[in-house]
């Protein structure tokens, strides 16, 4: 494999090779220019060393042509880096639509992870090889950063909002998970492992342990316990807007603008309902700020994502039925199943 190249971490994701390629390009350019500068300095320093104390060289004022040359050439090379780096960035931060959702909550000083089927982990993440995974992340306290060197991915995990990043593991193994944003006393202890498994092993792992019910069904129970259901009714028009098929759809607000009902909007509407009122509904919803945990919020979110218009919410969807999410919105049931 790539073991013969020293000082390169293991490559275990689809983007790792692309990041390394850009890195090698930059190393190449840097070595070239560093040697060029060092070589010229050394050569001139020896060639034109002072031979007598009174030596007075002829003045050279400069050359516009030469100077333009070393303005333009570095600029052109740097534009290659710019374009290459930007395209890679778009790849890493734009999750594909068919990715499997996993939710991450950071807190001083641990990572809490929830799988769609309800399985929870702390400082450990199990994922199958060859499957696109989208992480939706938030923090309970300060800023953290989710960093897996072997995947070449990193994303800050912020309190009060969701950030996301995706990856597709290519090689079974155990890889370091680090917190990369300084977060207080045990910052360097806030790490763990990402375990990449063959799909069959992963299935085995998923089915092991006690079942708590899927994330969506826990979310649905919460939806009832918190009495969300009494206003956001599915059968008839309730006092609040119906949530069926809401996710990733445009919503018309009081005041005329339109927003997309993404994770951030749903989160805000639960914690601060009056911030962006849906057109035609009175501002009567109480805030749930401080009453539910970040993990419960993510469960509610998963539930809301899972209810498409064709479904009857009375029958909780099976774990498989809402595995993938992403943009598909209404036709959620079609892109299921590994």
């Amino acid at each position: 494999m790539e073991k013969w190249i020293p000082f390169i971490p293991e490559r275990a994701s689809t983007v790792a090779g692309r990041v390394d390629a850009l890195y090698f390009f930059l190393v190449g350019v840097s070595v070239f220019f560093a040697l060029l500068i060092a070589g010229l300095e050394l050569y001139f320093a020896i060639r034109y060393r002072r031979r007598s104390p009174g030596e007075m060289p002829a003045p050279v004022r400069g050359s516009m042509k030469l100077e333009m040359l070393w303005v333009v050439i570095p600029f052109l090379i740097s534009m290659v880096m710019f374009a290459w780096g930007s395209s890679l960035y778009f790849t890493i931060y734009r999750p594909p639509k068919d990715a499997l959702d996993i939710y991450v909550v950071g807190k001083q000083w641990m990572w809490k992870l929830q799988h769609l089927d309800g399985k929870r982990e702390i400082n450990e993440l199990h994922v199958p090889v060859g499957r696109k995974i989208k992480l939706t992340m938030t923090s309970e306290d300060v800023i953290h950063s989710f960093f897996v060197p072997a995947f070449r991915i990193k994303a800050d995990v912020l309190p009060g909002r969701y950030t996301s990043v995706w990856f597709e593991a290519t090689k079974p193994g155990r890889y370091h998970l680090f917190c990369a944003e300084y977060c207080g006393t045990s910052h360097s202890g806030m790490g763990g492992w990402v375990t990449v498994m063959e799909p069959a092993d992963y299935e085995g792992w998923l089915s092991g342990g006690r079942a708590e019910g899927s994330l969506a069904s826990t979310g649905e129970k919460l939806f009832q316990d918190l009495a969300c259901v009494s206003c956001h009714r599915s059968d008839i028009q309730g006092r609040g807007p119906a949530l069926k098929g809401l996710f990733n759809r445009p919503v018309r607000l009081e005041g005329g603008q339109t927003v997309i009902a993404d994770e951030g909007y749903i989160r805000e509407s639960i914690l601060n309902p009056r911030a962006k009122l849906v057109a035609g509904f009175p501002p009567i919803m109480p805030t749930f700020q401080g009453q539910i945990t970040e993990e419960q919020l993510l469960q509610l979110l998963t539930y809301i994502k899972s209810i498409g218009p064709e479904e009857t919410p009375a029958a909780p969807p099976s774990p498989e039925a809402q595995a993938p999410s992403g943009g598909a919105g209404v036709t959620r049931k079609e892109n299921v199943k590994q």
Binding site: V29, R51, A58, P59, P74, F82, G85, I143, L158, T185
Partner: protein
Amino acid sequence: MIPKQPRTHYLNISYGFKSWLFTTDHKRIGLLYLVSITLFFFVGGAFATIIRLELATPQGDLVQAETYNKLFTMHGVMMIFFFLIPAVPAVLGNFLIPLMIGAKDVAFPRLNLLSWYIFNLGALFTIYAVVSGGVDTGWTFYTPYSTTYSNTHVLATGVGIFITGFSSILTGLNFIVTIHMMRAPGMNWFRLPLFVWAHYATSLIQVLGTPVIAITVLLLAFERVVRIGIFDPALGGDPVLFQHLFWFYSHPAVYIMVLPAMGVVSELVAAFTRKSIFGYDLVAFASIAIAVFGFLVWGHHLFVSGQSVYAGMIFSFLSYAVAIPSAVKVFNWTATLYKGSVSYQTPMLYAFGFIGLFTIGGLTGLFLAAMGLDIHLTDTYFVVAHFHYIMVGGTIMAYLGGLHYWWPKISGRMYPEGWAKLGALIVFVGFNLTFFPQFLLGYMGMPRRYHAYPEEFQVLNVMSSAGASILAVGYILPMVYLIWSMRYGPIASSNPWPATGLEWQTSSPPPTENFEEIPVVTWEAYEFAGQE
């Protein structure tokens, strides 16, 4: 002929503490800063020493995690706000700008002294924070950790930085007015030494940028004390807003550290090749371009913070744009050597060191400006290595080179050349051994600000720690022989190298009024041919 010192000069015209503490002589004020920042440099260096000792083993075994976090925080705060930012401008800039432009003093001599007092007052608060238990937020003070979660002395440190900022603003203001109003007859803008151009650009940043960090620190203090929600989302604030404000100052602040250093290197390269800097105009404008573009790149510190990808692209593009004037300077210095008369005295060795290390620092900046690569590299040791190459490999090399170059003017004595060359060599070797392995550690994935780390990173960390001990020797050595030379060094002539520049046309050390009579300038910068 053995050079003789003038009978009276700025150093011996009066004696006693009062004559220094109430001086308005820009040269003496420069030396007051020299004393202050040298003290802070060694305090900050002591913190670094403990950090490197801790990192010699993977386990966190020398100090506790809390202590370690305070050490790297205080190392950063001390070195950046109390050493690197004032180093070249406040010491060498203060001493030299009036001399170089043919003035008797800066435009506002008493304001200049006040700046030094303000600087020390700010330092006092920060030192109070250190001795009363320290601060553990990192020098970046990211919220909401700094406003809500840290229970260390964030406020005292913040007040210290707030106050010290005014010293920086006032010094910048003083330089701008001085350079505009106090130039000797005939000293037009394009006859100014590039050192002065660099300081002009730096002063613009100091005056325009520093108020932003002052406001930011103030907002931080409001949120911490009065719990007004500005940054903490639990109070309705935006945690990333802090990063925007912080880097709006702190990225240009990197240029506050580097631009004057580039100015020093231009002087050194010209003097030790006996040639005008190749493409004087472009190098002068490059300083201004860096100062302007430097204000527009702060968002490259936020590529993984969830910032809009399109905003990221603009910041990435501008970061490449700002790299070009820096590259131009490196090429122009190199071209200056061509058909020059290169001598290898100590200041020139430091200049060579600067060009080499700054080039590596600059090139690795290109890695971090490439967004897709920055995702992997940011917040790792790669970043630590990169900015140490710029700020230590760049600024400190130039500062030491400048200190040696102008030492005869400052002290009236020559430093011991042999020891000095040895010192420069030790610094260069120690520096590379300390920081080069950190690039590799960073790409391998070691995050920064880690008290303990996985075992596979140990070998490179041990190399880094070993290098740090060499580097420490390299920094202590000049302090010892420079102090020694003040008494025992050979008497310096007024122009020992010889070099151009008005500062070399007055005696060493200069009289309090700088010149017997105000010079009239009829020649261009770096015109060696007219000399003997």
